[in-house]
Subunit: 264 residues, 2 copies
């Protein structure tokens, strides 16, 4: 058969290793979305049209659309007016895909806190002035969850998750999407650590301490004091690190920035 093969039509592709047709089609559609500047909810051609456009079968098109769907770029719906539509790539999807990564690349508490101490204070500072009433409500509720069974042993994991939830809510209010994304990643890494940890010794006092820090953070947020929010968060993270990270793993040379300096 003498059908033109997409893989050989594009010179840039031909040089590289043989790719699957479905992947080539997926990339072409992906490029088209960006180059045409399509926005979320814009419609893509329907399956029969795509089959016509790319000269390949339905299953190939479907695999390509599946690929784009997993990437979070498109969403497929049935029914009249349905088909493939452009979707906004959500931060949640990226984080979800990331979680696979941690299964093969385990990260230690020490490694997590090496970054956490740097970015969480920045997060705390940056959300000041951006927290809505809804945010405050959610934050209060996260604190309430932590306070509920302060002594219960079985609730340890529950408390730790509520602790991370508190920080995730801050991310929601963060005006810098990249900072938010990075913080989400670190939180996701912590969640994995909680899941597989045998480090459940530090229960009661740790939770109380965290709640206290969170309340002090709330106070700083309410008063609109970014500098104080930064300081309190730094203390919070360092305090947690001192408990969570085994002393042996705590790098002596790891620096802590206590006070910010200004650009000249």
């Amino acid at each position: 058969m003498n059908k033109p093969d997409i893989r050989t039509l594009d010179p840039s592709r031909r040089a590289s290793i043989k790719r699957k047709r479905s992947d080539a089609v997926a990339d072409l559609i992906r490029s088209h979305i960006f180059q045409a500047g399509l926005k979320p909810d814009d419609r893509l051609p329907q399956e029969p049209e795509l089959i016509e456009m790319f000269g390949c079968s339905r299953s190939t098109i479907r695999e390509a659309l599946k690929s784009l769907e997993v990437q979070g770029l498109v969403q497929n719906t049935t029914g009249p007016g349905g088909g493939a539509r452009v979707a906004p790539v959500s931060i949640n999807r990226i984080v979800g895909l990331l979680s696979n990564y941690f299964y093969f690349q385990s990260v230690s508490a020490a490694q997590i806190y090496q970054i956490r101490r740097l970015i969480e204070p920045e997060l705390a500072s940056s959300v000041v002035g951006h927290l809505t009433a809804l945010h405050f409500e959610a934050l209060e509720q996260a604190i309430a969850v932590q306070e509920h069974h302060p002594g219960g042993d079985a609730d340890w994991e529950h408390h730790r998750h509520a602790e991370i939830d508190f920080h995730d809510i801050l991310i929601d209010a963060c005006p810098n999407p990249l900072l938010g994304l990075v913080c989400r990643f670190v939180n996701e890494a912590i969640r994995h650590l909680i899941g597989r940890s045998g480090v459940q010794e530090f229960a009661a006092s740790f939770t109380c301490e965290n709640v206290d820090f969170h309340k002090r953070l709330m106070s700083a947020f309410r008063s609109g004091n970014a500098a104080r929010a930064r300081r309190v968060m730094l203390d919070h993270v360092l305090s947690a690190e001192a408990i969570v990270v085994p002393a042996a793993d705590r790098g002596i040379d790891q620096p802590v920035f206590r006070e910010p300096l200004r650009l000249d």
Copy 2:
């Protein structure tokens, strides 16, 4: 027909919105990989067996495998001994998926540098003692690329990419995978910024300055001085920020940490 539907068998799924079979199968396989502790290169059952196991058709299984392939969890090969194999989720794949995100969520230079000034100095410090001869060679070459046409106007984008390449090489030597991942993200964001920027005014002197900083970094790396590497990198990032970020966007309250403090 009275076939058991995977979507209704799992109580946790039944409650939520209707999912596609292929997604349900993909999740089951994914969970199996993790729960069985499968390692990269371990084989998954072949398509006919999977069809048997899940009681669904070939196309459903193939979509599920496609999904896992896009996620980077498995790799499919043809031929004897082929089939689906577990693959390590690579940092490159995650970054690739992330790049979609930036098309809908644009990030400004100011936002990038808010994070960059925090983590790049940490990166520079952490790679000290972990750079191999190969790393040094690659770093030298990246510098050479930047030096090649210091005045050429058309090379501006080329130089900027070489500048980012230099930092990516450091990431390769970073012993903290999470820090590496975060730095890759920031670099990816910068690459996007370069791609769509109309900010090409600052060309010649900027490149020279960067090369100078890179050479000073190399010196610190060679002498094994982590503290100096940190300081030089901070100066490098701040210098770049002062040029790249419009003064109006430069938040007055953004802090700069010039000297590290120690844990008590």
